[in-house]
Symmetry: C2
Subunit: 427 residues, 2 copies
């Protein structure tokens, strides 16, 4: 069993100027590869303290992944700290230097001399070739222990962890088995409900493993306002075999969860909706009140959204609901208003499907409706005409304005998704 | 000088299921109070490892703030770990228990027995009374060292840190001086430009301090797509005196930065715009293409936005721009289209001011315009009529779709803000 720690380096992380999201991402990758990680530490740009953290990490784990502090400025001292721990000097790596110079050339920028600091590597280290940024990564050995160093820029870090660090860790773990995982993303079920419906399946898998039969594992991951994830992980002598185990288990889990599963791995709710609409060759328009454009902005964040999304009306004021969408007099947080908004916006943009949201995000109640009351309207001739659905959020003191808006947005998209796959009313 | 560490507790943090934003926030509060913090650690729900981290923290810092692991489930073992480090038993605190029961009663929920675990406190600990959640916080002494424990739920954590932890730390530091800070939020200036214009002022402050005169300090904080922050911190014998120093310095810094400053402390760009519009009794409507509703959703996230925001049109498709807003034939990423969109949306919602965004978020170029081209249109009779402004984003390989959308949104709001204060064209 290999244990790996993450050491995030940078005074800006301690001061809270930047939130360290890198460690969480690395932790997720390690877990998916079956590697244990018991500690993650943040430390500032201070040589003595970085050295101390590296030594403490190597004393209790087989490897430490350093993240950050590889840039060109005098604050970037991860290289120096690693060299001190290893007891070796830093040496200029000519290949790295050439690549740095070439990168500046290609971007038409002049390279200042301090950039060559990034070409200095601890003697004996293996370089992880830089492909996106100018700083290379490092793999260093110290007896049976390893120190890895990757840049703090997230997309550079991710690329190097995936390409070089995880494969090296897996190889050194002596684990010849392949580990694969797949995440099913769900919406509309509480964690306790998921737990209840999957308990039997999880017990069966445990039994199979105890009996020595190949069987994947299932884990739940809370994902905040993006719903709950069910991760299936399989370990097998070959990648093909691991994939086969996962595919079979996915079928079992889907049979239990039904339409609660909206996507796999990186597919979020808006991408799932756009794909379903595209397959059916349907156009979508959205009328938003309390969400003020959130649904539209989520949909248009998906590349290729223009195939499906026709437009949106942000009708925050009651007068706008009436003037632009033909909502009749009467309360605007209501079933009738939600349906009129959906019908009106579909007509306005000439879309086959209209989706609407009207509700009370707070802080004050409205039309006698409490904070958290949300009506979602749907107008879709191809899918049974018009309907409206009431949801009540934040009843137990949560009542946070932004959370109500966010949950309302994803709930509306989920309602449309379920209607598209013909499963509204089921869970 | 007091040194304080943060220990974030929870296996979900190590697995990357939840990003630890609490430590960063606490780090920011500590820095603003003049307290040093050299290490932040994440550890899982494991008694031995939590105890080890607490001991290591107390060996190198005067205090450790534990965050998380105070809930009712059997995974929540922060209380046990602290008791073990202190060498004392856990005891039921009747007052805490009564408050927990009362909270369940008030919310009409039945309390399960495990909730009373939250009323167990290490003997001798001072309770930080729970006000939002069911778990109280803790203040524990161990010789001259302190252990604080607060819940991991962000809003509960923040409230307790502000109300109880920071004041206790400041009192114990023996620091009789008052430390106050104020953050000026800026948009439109690069860090190097800020540095250049403020270098003289910072040198003058350094000189004053060296000469023993009272003088605040200035620091820059990058804040990603929300711009750059300039933080003024002052230390003085009294709070009044510290506030006076800050007010005087704010005037100096504002004189240098001019209209680049859009808000103070928690005031974000959308709140600043809404306040300026409200003061002028103007209504706003927004036409969004590439941002797909982002500007509307930001504006409506501000409580009281309805005083100002009349509505928005998400005209992602060219046909929608023409049909709904009367944009004429021709390229839609252009000065003309931006102006027509702004004029059209102001008319559609009967607003005094129309703001529009049209551009290329990518991944593909459009109308021969490269990714990152954004036109912002403004229509406002009260402020000199119609105009359009071109910005080019992501020219140096950045070009990330979501980043372009986000920067376009805040840039449009900033343009309107500058127009409202009569400073478009200046920086």
């Amino acid at each position: 069993m290999t244990r790996v720690e993450v050491l995030a380096i940078g005074t800006e992380l301690l001061l809270g100027q930047v939130v360290d999201t890198n460690s969480a991402w690395i932790g997720e990758q390690l877990a998916a590869s079956g590697i244990d990680s018991y500690y993650q530490t943040k430390v500032g740009d201070n040589l003595g303290r970085i050295v101390g953290c590296l030594r403490a990490g190597l004393a209790r784990s087989e490897a430490v992944i350093c993240c950050g502090g590889l840039g060109p400025t005098k604050d970037d001292i991860t290289r120096e700290a690693i060299a001190e721990v290893l007891g070796v000097p830093l040496e200029l790596d000519d290949d790295v230097a050439v690549r740095i110079e070439a990168m500046f050339g290609a971007r038409g920028r002049v390279m200042t001399a301090n950039n060559l600091r990034q070409a200095e590597v601890p003697r004996g280290a293996t370089v992880i070739e830089q492909q996106r940024g100018t700083a290379p990564g490092l793999i260093c050995r110290m007896g049976d222990r390893s120190i890895y160093a990757v840049p703090g820029v997230p997309h550079e870090m991710r690329e190097m962890i995936t390409r070089a660090v995880i494969p090296d860790l897996v190889e050194r773990s002596g684990e010849s088995a392949a580990i694969r995982s797949r995440t099913l993303r769900t919406w509309g079920m509480a964690e306790s409900a998921l737990d209840e419906v999957l308990t039997g399946r999880m017990a069966a898998l445990d039994e199979a493993r105890i009996a020595g039969r190949p069987a994947p594992t299932i884990a739940f991951l809370a994902s905040g306002i993006e719903g709950l994830k069910v991760r299936i992980t399989a370990k097998a002598p070959s990648a093909d075999e691991a994939e086969r185990l996962i595919a079979a288990e996915e079928e079992e889990v889907r049979a239990v969860l039904g339409p609660g599963v909206f996507g796999v791995d990186e597919v979020n709710m808006e991408a799932a909706v756009i794909e379903l609409m595209r397959e059916r060759n349907l156009g979508l328009s959205v009328a938003e009140s309390l969400t003020g454009g959130l649904v539209g902005s989520r949909l248009t964040a998906v590349p290729g959204a223009s195939d499906v999304f026709r437009g949106g009306a942000v009708v925050y004021a009651s007068s706008a609901k009436r003037a632009l969408l033909g909502v009749s007099d009467g309360p605007v947080v209501s079933e009738e208003a939600a349906i009129e908004m959906a019908v009106g916006v579909a007509k306005l943009f000439g879309a086959e499907v209209g989706l609407s949201l009207t509700g009370v995000a707070g802080p004050a109640s409205q039309d006698g409706q409490p904070v958290g009351t949300v009506w979602i309207g749907l107008s879709a001739a191809a899918m049974g005409g018009e309907s409206a659905h009431l949801i009540r959020l934040g009843r137990y003191g949560g009542g946070d304005r932004e959370q109500i808006r966010q949950i309302a947005a994803i709930s509306a998209l989920d309602l449309l998704r379920r209607r598209l796959i013909g499963s509204v009313g089921e869970t």
